[in-house]
């Protein structure tokens, strides 16, 4: 009978889950009943009783165990709190460092959540695609105008095909006699509101764009025009020419949408309106049906089972159907771009402002993680620095019989406690800083994304990760050593630990230096781009867009009137602005027996263009009123065009450009007509008028000048609102992306500096404490205070220098790659590096300085009497 042991598995489980210390009694009790049962009811019954006992008792045993360890937990917590209070300065340093690191991470998580949420608010966003077009020399989301209906006709897998076109410039809407400047005018097919999901306040999504001149307003636009009530059914006039009927009001477009607009008109109206704007007869030419024109954006919604890749493969054959009328179609490839990818993965220049870059997102995420790591290392450093003072405590615990598990738990709980405090502090910091940091991000960095689960979850995980990172190293370290050595008074400052500490400091310095060099270089590049001599003078130039044809036709008279205005020294009309020439034409030429194909940028100006912009003429002459033939037969090139054409002496040569042969009459010095990302391309200028009036004004009395200029324009175009801007204001927007980039990195650099100086301060505190006796003895032997401070400082300075050596090449390579995107750029220069080195050495000095002064000036008697 003695061999009939209880079921082994059940017994084993029982021994594992019974409360610590009680296993023997519990197992014994069970076995006693069991053996009695074997005698009474037989072996099988006893065995099954034993098993069911264990199974049914399982939950209560577990519960028992947990409530047993609650007391233990309380003791851990108490010790942890006592420890933190005892070493207040260390705890404060470590917690605030961690809080900054966590705040950094939170801000970045919020930002990433915003970025990832783009265009996610539509119904079924995964099935919505934008068609993009790849051409030999360009690519982008502008597609052939009649593409959408043709696609819909040919492919059953397309559920909806919608065309949109966003008017890039502000226009004027009239409400009775009152004019409003209206930006964000979108033209769209009627199915627009079926494909995309916008919230309707009034009106019906299905019928909103049915009429030819219906109008859908966003809430804020509707409020601006009509106040809060009676918006639907009212009439607004587009430029005073077309009466639009308000059919619906929708909620404002969420900021996390790549498509930003304020009002929507039916695309159908574009035929008429474009005819009016560009001056042709809409009865003769239907813009929307023209395969030659490619300016419309095409969005598709696919049926659920459709495969976008398979659809893409069918596009070449599809294009062949329409190619006989338009053979350029054969050079084009169409792709489908998921609508949610547009924000982060699109690099088309035409997408412009609302587009972010996935690389920037990755970079930010990396920076956030690194700063978090830095602050975790900080607290690891500070904990191990206190190693000596806590060794005895730990040793006693061990001798008294603390298990390794319990010691680990003790240290993890301590780090979780300080992480929890840091977490709360970091959160408060985010609430405080979010408004300031939102600036460069183009929208308010809302805490809105906290309402959805994933970011919140990630934030909590980050906190837990920080606690684990900062707690695990000390926990493992403390639990592993032999108590005998400590109590015997063995070597406390092992070489290995010092090595780890130095490595962590070097890591912090390296990151800080890299970020410093990065920020410095980005800002230098931005300043360079803003201050570079562009070849023309952008200051004190007032720009007034001229939209009416009949005003343009009277440009000479207008110019004469404008010149009368106070402070206006010269006036010129041009088709585009010199800061952003966008028109170009493909040249296919035979130069010296060699075929050359290139893009020639084009601009039409009047005779005074060079005067207003102070552009230098290097050869020949500019257009002049004295030569009537200039209008049709003359062209002026820039130096680059002459070089591309391989003409050393271009004046008098003939060039087929602007639709006919023209004689080159002069060459202007190269000027930057595009952002400095691009090198200066070839440029051809012809005599003409244009949509922009550029006025060179003196700065003495700008309001007076503006008032008079306004008067002149209102005399010529009484029905039009006066719009103007200064060229240098406009110019500032050109490099906004880079500037925001610099500012964002700048913020995080500041964070990094804060974290690492906190860490340094803590370490120097420790070092000074550890060397109290050494310093005392040195003082007694006659060392000077300065010498002692230097001694403390030397160690940190050495680490800082080493970190500089590591950081420089890395920063150099990375920054060089970033700078490659600019055709005109600064070098990654030595002064920037030197500055970073000075800042880090200074940082070390400040961190150590306070301590060393305190220690070095202390009375040695006190420190030597220490024990």
């Amino acid at each position: 009978m003695k061999n009939e042991r209880p079921p082994r598995l059940a017994a084993w489980i029982l021994s594992r889950i019974a409360a610590a210390g009680d296993q023997h009694a519990v197992l014994g009790d069970c076995e006693e009943i069991y053996s009695a049962m074997v005698a009474e009811k037989g072996l099988p019954a006893a065995r099954s009783w034993y098993r069911s006992q264990v199974l049914r008792s399982l939950p209560l045993f577990v519960l028992n165990r947990i409530s047993g360890s609650a007391a233990m937990f309380r003791s851990y917590l108490q010790t942890a709190l006592r420890n933190m209070l005892k070493h207040r300065s260390y705890s404060l340093l470590s917690i605030s460092g961690l809080a900054i690191g966590l705040a950094c991470c939170f801000i970045i998580i919020l930002y990433l959540a915003e970025e990832a949420s783009y265009d996610d608010f539509h119904r079924d966003p995964a099935s919505i695609y934008r068609v993009v077009r790849q051409m030999p020399d360009a690519h982008g989301p502008a597609t052939r105008n009649p593409l959408a209906p043709a696609l819909k006709e040919n492919f059953p897998e397309i559920e909806l095909a919608v065309r949109t076109w966003l008017l890039r410039e502000p226009t004027t809407f009239w409400l009775g006699e009152k004019d409003f400047r209206q930006e964000g005018v979108l033209f769209a097919d009627p199915e627009f509101f079926r494909l995309f999901t916008y919230e309707f306040i009034a009106g019906h999504p299905g019928r909103a764009l049915d009429g030819k001149f219906s109008l859908v307003l966003t809430e804020s636009a509707a409020k601006r025009y009509f106040g809060a009530k009676n918006q639907v059914g009212r009439t607004l006039s587009f430029d005073g020419e077309f009466d639009l009927n308000v059919t619906a009001v929708i909620k404002d477009v969420p900021h996390n949408s790549h498509l930003q607009f304020e009002v929507v008109l039916p695309l159908e109206s574009l035929n008429a309106i474009a005819g009016y704007v560009y001056g042709y007869d809409p009865a003769q030419y239907r813009l929307l049906d023209d395969w030659m024109a490619g300016m419309i954006n095409t969005y598709l919604k696919l049926v659920p089972e459709a495969d976008p890749a398979a659809l893409e493969r069918k596009f070449p054959d599809f294009l062949k159907i329409y190619a006989p009328r338009n053979k350029e179609l054969l050079d084009e490839t169409l792709y489908l771009q998921p609508v949610r990818d547009i924000h982060l993965h699109s690099q088309y220049p035409s997408d412009t402002d609302k587009i972010s870059d996935i690389k920037f997102v990755y970079l930010l995420a990396a920076i956030g993680l690194v700063i978090l790591l830095m602050s975790c290392f900080n607290s690891v450093n500070l904990t191990t620095a206190r190693f000596a003072s806590r060794l005895k405590e730990v040793a006693i615990r061990k001798v008294v019989g603390a298990l390794k598990r319990q010691l680990v738990a003790q240290f993890l709980i301590e780090s979780f406690l300080s992480s929890l405090l840091a977490f709360i502090l970091g959160f408060l910091l985010v609430l405080l800083l979010a408004p300031a940091i939102s600036g460069p991000l183009d929208y308010s960095l809302g805490l809105r994304s906290l309402h959805s689960a994933p970011p919140l979850l990630i934030i909590f995980l980050t906190g837990a990760l920080a606690a684990l990172l900062s707690g695990s190293y000390p926990a493992i370290f403390f639990s592993a050593f032999q108590p005998v050595n400590v109590i015997k008074g063995g070597d406390l400052s092992s070489r290995r630990r010092k090595g780890v500490r130095s490595a962590l400091v070097i890591f912090q310095f390296t990151i800080t230096i890299s970020l410093l060099v990065g920020t410095g270089t980005v800002f230098r590049q931005v300043r360079y781009m803003k201050s570079k001599d562009l070849g023309y003078e952008k200051e004190q130039v007032l720009i007034v867009p001229v939209k009416d044809d009949d005003v343009r036709n009277r440009s000479e008279a207008l110019k004469n009137e404008l010149l009368q205005a106070a402070g206006v020294s010269s006036v010129s009309f041009s088709s585009v602005l010199p800061s952003r020439i966008i028109g170009s034409t493909t040249m296919d030429l035979n130069i010296d027996g060699e075929r050359k194909v290139f893009e020639m940028n084009t601009i039409a100006t009047d005779t005074d263009f060079l005067d207003v912009y102070k552009i230098a003429l290097t050869q020949g002459r500019y257009f002049s009123r004295d030569y009537p033939a200039d209008a049709e037969g003359a062209v002026v090139l820039n130096e680059r065009a002459a070089a591309v054409l391989n003409w050393r002496d271009p004046v008098g040569k003939e060039l087929r450009v602007f639709g006919g042969p023209r004689r080159v009459i002069g060459v202007v010095r190269d000027f930057h007509f595009q952002p400095l990302h691009n090198s200066i391309g070839p440029l051809a200028m012809r005599l003409g008028s244009g949509r922009y009036a550029s006025l060179r004004v003196s700065t003495s009395d700008i309001p007076q000048t503006l008032a008079e200029v306004r008067g002149v324009f209102q005399m010529f175009a009484p029905r039009r609102a006066f719009e103007y801007f200064f060229l240098d204001d406009d110019f500032r927007n050109l490099y906004r992306a880079e500037q925001n980039f610099g500012r964002t990195i700048g913020y995080f650099t500041l964070f990094a500096i804060m974290v690492s100086s906190l860490g340094l301060f803590g370490l120097s505190l420790f070092l000074a404490e550890k060397k109290t006796k050494e310093i005392g003895i040195r003082k007694v032997l006659g060392a000077s205070a300065a010498g002692l401070a230097l001694m403390l400082y030397r160690e940190f300075a050495r680490l800082a220098l080493l970190a500089n050596l590591i950081a420089w090449p890395v920063a150099y390579v990375v920054l060089n790659r970033w700078l490659q995107r600019f055709a005109y750029r600064v070098e990654v220069a030595l002064p920037t590096f030197a500055l970073a080195a000075i800042v880090t050495l200074g940082l070390a000095f400040l961190a150590v300085g306070y301590q060393s002064v305190k220690v070095a000036s202390a009375n040695p008697v006190k420190s030597l009497r220490y024990e």
């Binding site: 009694a25 014994g28 053996s35 045993f61 028992n64």
Partner: protein, 107 residues
């Protein structure tokens, strides 16, 4: 004061009755007898441990016996605190019943 649960009350009474012989198995037997139903050992130990933590019961290591696979017993003994807890339960119950003593059963 925190009241005892029925099981805890029964356990305390069982331990009192058993005197020097109160250990897991005997307590279990006694409790089963009082309630005319068997408790799982898990439930019993949970209640026992709770009583020990509240210091109503004291624990003492006993000798191993062969029936137990050579494992020692844990003996329990009611502490003075346990006694007064039992007494206050009794008092409470009597108060409770005195309140309804005047009520005649519905005929």
């Amino acid at each position: 004061m925190e009241l005892l649960t029925r099981l805890e009350e029964a356990i305390l009474i069982a331990v009192l009755r058993l005197g020097d012989e109160a250990y897991g198995v005997s307590v279990n037997r006694e409790v089963s007898r009082i309630f005319c139903k068997t408790y799982t050992l898990g439930a019993l130990y949970f209640a026992l441990d709770r009583l020990v933590r509240r210091e109503y019961l004291g624990k003492m290591e006993g000798d191993p016996t062969p029936q137990r696979g050579g494992r020692s017993k844990t003996y329990y003994r009611v502490t003075p605190e346990g006694r007064s807890a039992l007494e206050s339960v009794r008092e409470y119950q009597e108060n409770l019943w005195r309140a309804v003593a005047d009520l005649r059963p519905v005929e």
